[in-house]
């Protein structure tokens, strides 16, 4: 049941709303999103005069789609590098390092408050969704565990050390590369407006 008498109960949209309630609720929802894209639920009057909250699924759908894309790309890269029979943790190293560079670059090119070149939902999609699904900590831990179990301590420490060092370096590199972009964007915008 969509609208419960408890005002604090959250409700998914679209839920089992009465058909005549839908236009009003969508109107209120659209206005609220326009005012503040960060809100995740609103109070709306229900049929009986009591109110219910509607949670916007949009944010979770964005993260889900981005995560799906990132995971598939990671799968593709590891499958491509598997037959090359190089050092086993190498494919994951490549994936995590490039993912760290990407998240850092996108994070520092955009800004959640000042100059927004990626809005909050785009940041959610690219940073939490794509980069989050693309990189993985669990596979890295599993590789370390297998290396420890096989007794190959060189593999273990090399994997751990290289992963952390290269990924932190990639984050730093992404921040450096992203730094001139906002100013460049503003110059180009000013040029186009002149």
């Amino acid at each position: 049941m969509c609208c419960s008498p408890e005002p604090s109960e959250k409700v998914m949209l679209p839920g089992r709303l009465m058909s005549h309630q839908l236009p009003q609720i969508y109107a209120i929802a659209n206005n609220s999103i326009f005012l503040d894209p960060e809100i995740d639920s609103i109070q709306v009057p229900a049929k009986i005069g009591k109110s219910c909250q509607i949670v916007f699924m949009r944010r979770y759908i964005l993260v889900a789609i981005g995560g799906g894309i990132g995971s598939v790309v990671r799968f593709g890269i590891t499958e491509f590098m598997a037959p090359l029979a190089l050092w086993p943790p190498l494919s994951l190293l490549v994936v995590n390092t490039s993912g760290c560079f990407l998240i850092s670059f996108l994070n520092f090119v955009s800004d959640p408050s000042g100059d927004i070149y990626l809005g909050p939902r785009s940041r959610l999609f690219f940073l939490v969704g794509i980069c989050g699904g693309y990189t993985t900590f669990s596979s890295f831990s599993l590789l370390s565990f297998n290396a420890a179990r096989n007794g190959s301590l060189l593999d273990l420490w090399l994997n751990i050390g290289l992963s952390h060092i290269l990924c932190l370096f990639s984050v730093w590199l992404g921040a450096i590369v992203a730094a001139p972009f906002p100013r460049a964007f503003r110059r180009i915008a000013r040029l186009l407006r002149s």
């Binding site: 995971s71 760290c100 998240i103 980069c131 699904g133 990189t135 596979s139």
Partner: protein, 128 residues
Amino acid sequence: MVGIVLVMLGGALGSMWRYSWSGFVAERLGETFPFGTFVVNLVGSVLIGAFSGVIAHLSSSADAALLQQFLVIGICGGLTTFSSFSLQTYNLITEGRWLSALANILFSTGFCLACVAMGWQVTQWVSL
């Protein structure tokens, strides 16, 4: 083709859970330390240990490949993240909080490794 769909579904689920759980934890434990990413990486590590232990005991290699794609590459891969972890560590370093950054790296790596061992060991005990 089936593998790609399984990875996409698992990745979508894992990422949604990562977003909701890390947000939940961050709300309660504060934003001073990346507890959300830490918790989510821990859970993902336990799961990957458990799933790998189960998959290693499967007789059919076709089933094993499908489960590996959905559970390990998809769900665990989407549930955990190295990029957010590295970015948060970098932010801690640039804020001058070297000790917190080092703690993040050591505790994340150490506890996640222990969690993989735990998850894997439980499946070994259960299967006996």
